[in-house]
Amino acid sequence: MVAKAFSEVRVLDCTQGVAGSYCAKWLADFGAEVIKVERPGDGDVTRKMGPFLRDESHPEKSVTFFYLNTNKKSITLNFRSETGSKIFKKLAQKADVVVENFKPGKMSEAGLSYDVLNEINPRLIMTSITPFGQTGPYRDYEATNLTVYGLGGAMYTMRAGDKPMGRPVVEGGLQAEYVTGVLSFIATVAALFQRVDTGRGTWIDISAMECVASTLMGHVAEYPYMGLIRRTNPFAIHGYPIGYSVPCKDGWISLTPGLGGAPNIAILIGKPELQDDPLFAKPSARMDNPEKFDALILPWLEKRDKWKIAKEAQELRLAFTPVLSPGELLEDEQIQARKFFANAKHPVMGEVTYPGAAAKLSETPWQEGRAPLLGEHNGEIYGSLGYSKEELIKLGTEGVI
């Protein structure tokens, strides 16, 4: 049997949506027993969120739910009800981690604050994920992926180099959510790590806005160092036009000429006599005249396919890479050789192919698996707490589970 990194760890995933589910997915995919605690009836909101398999809106056909909840178990529980709150405490007693993303204060209102849970189980780690954190002036603000991404400062830089005053655009997909999910996972594991020695749990307060702002890395320090507020990726800092998407025959390609000169570009486009031309030899010349550089290279690119260009350029040690559409990933030879895509059989969705491991670990590899059906594990989990079938039926009719 393959070793699992979190084989002894039990997690209650009480989150809805993307960020919290993604955090708990990491734990589940590396072997933790993750129990998704869903609302009776509807379940996690992502069950209602598209895309759906064959566009059929159905709680067991949400592609988003599947992706974010692989390898988890699902139970239903209304822990706002008195009985539900009691049951939750029983679950928390035997858990190592609770991940939740209710609005600040909601867990306390349900009588399930960290203090209460910590008293029942001093080893418990609770990871609370909210848009703005449990404190501060924006604490109770409403937010979505779009608004958090803008508040985190990332969006202001999202403009093409030739349209620096244009309308900013959000990064594709739901990046504010994923960013928050990964960082929540890291914080949770760090808490588990220290617990081995101290025996103590902790309450982790994560703010999505801060998570997004942390992705700015050094760029946010351009202001305190020289008062610069970037609108895009300035050529003048890099000394070269970095990575913008340039059209070629069958799509787009990104060019990164490199920090030094790029005389090999002249060779690539069949004009070796231009190797010593400042446009190719000196980044500063390109910096001053990006359009002259473009006029030489664009017509050549337009007649060729992206993979062909990339491979020829790579032979010349040029960092040219194709801009791939999601659909083109399946045919990518590197992806295939690394068996990046995973497969799982789902009782309703059938055979499902989805993105696999974000990292390959030699001893405790990432595990493929499917997402649970709503309440699929009620019998197993509540049974282990000592509830009989009759009691479960009663709880069901009362709307507790």
Binding site: T135, L146, G150, T232, A319, P326, A358
Partner: protein
Amino acid sequence: MGYKLLDGIRVLDLTMVFAGPVSVKILADLGADVIKIESVQRSEVYTRANVYPENEPGEEPWNRGCFFHTLNAGKHGVSLNLGSEEGRELFKRLVKISDIVIENFSPRVMDNWGLNYEELKKIKPDIIMVSMSGLGHYGPLRDFYMYVPGMEGMSGLTFVTGYPDEPPLLSGYAYGDWVTGANAAAALLTALYYRKTTGKGQYVDVAGREAACCHIGEIIMDCFLNGRNRMRVGNQHSSASPHGCYRCKGEDNWVNIAVENDEQWQNFCQAMGNPPWTKEARFTDAPNRWRNRKELDKLIEDWTSQYDHYEIMGLLQKTGVPSGAVLNMKEVNLDSHLIERGFFQVIDHGEGIGKRPLAIHMPAQFSGIESFIHKRAPCFGQDNEYVFCELLGISKEELARLEQEKVLGGTPNFPPGRPTRTDLIEEQKAGWFDPDYLSELRGKYGEDIGLTD
């Protein structure tokens, strides 16, 4: 308690630029003891040499760059030439007293030096080694040269970012590097926890492109399962409207508004003062609003452009409508919410730079575990004596000899320090400059910003 979560974990950081250093910075924020290794022959030129305080490279430009300061705060710094036999021997002795080695060289480099995981494991059986690269450490394209554009562009992320009628858009802040680094840190913590509970180390292979694919999982699956190759949609929502980025009063001032249901729409209309057009049939329900979103967006922008973006956010939040100012780098640095929660650490960089607020990279608060402020990012070769003499027990004479032979040293081979071309940035409008930045920061962080104790 001044307890550090990763107390006693020693990391050898061989990485450069953004992806690797941010990964290790996350560990440093969690309290790991990091030794960053550069060499006289090959220092972190790109991050050390860019964006200087007050745009002045000074006499030691390599100790003044803001990118380096941000991503290496709290780390020790040594210089060591792994290209030399003696350098590699010293490195191996460091491995013996370390827990983690993390590198982002081209895939063949560590092999060529005889420092791959199999070799390191012989020296330290429970070592965890992390290799970060663009496309992974094996496979036919493993030697592709690439930077952020490759990690984002080859994952599908760039393709789905931007407006429908414009080219795929690369991020303006090296997001693909962050994704690579954060996922490497996540994998590393996983391996570290496993080692803590079993005593076993392992090897971790992180491909930045694959990590980025994981961040658009549902989009890639939509394509596999439904044959839909998702195009760029700008800021649109798939079914709700209004949902987008709207122009506000003043130059380059924007606010995001995301109305996702009818209740929010009613509240939104109320916040605008219920103008008559909101009652028109074409905007009554969600499907109609979505169908007529272009006209709707125009009418909304007529309203937003009368106010500053913070004002709009305040007005809309009062009625429970999700909205947020699109903050620029100045506003992020001065934002009261971020400051109150301690997102920025004021770090003293000594004479000529002084105190500057720098972001943290593990933005989480742990109850009962006190946070701590990092020391400044290391000057080049700053901790050679501590690491080689104190930790490895080398004599000072020996250290001097190694320095003479350029196995290590205090001065890197470095290109001349050049100020940033502010004229070009302004001309190309790639950014703008606030001449009063120091006084703005002093108003928020204290009068000693830019000064040293």
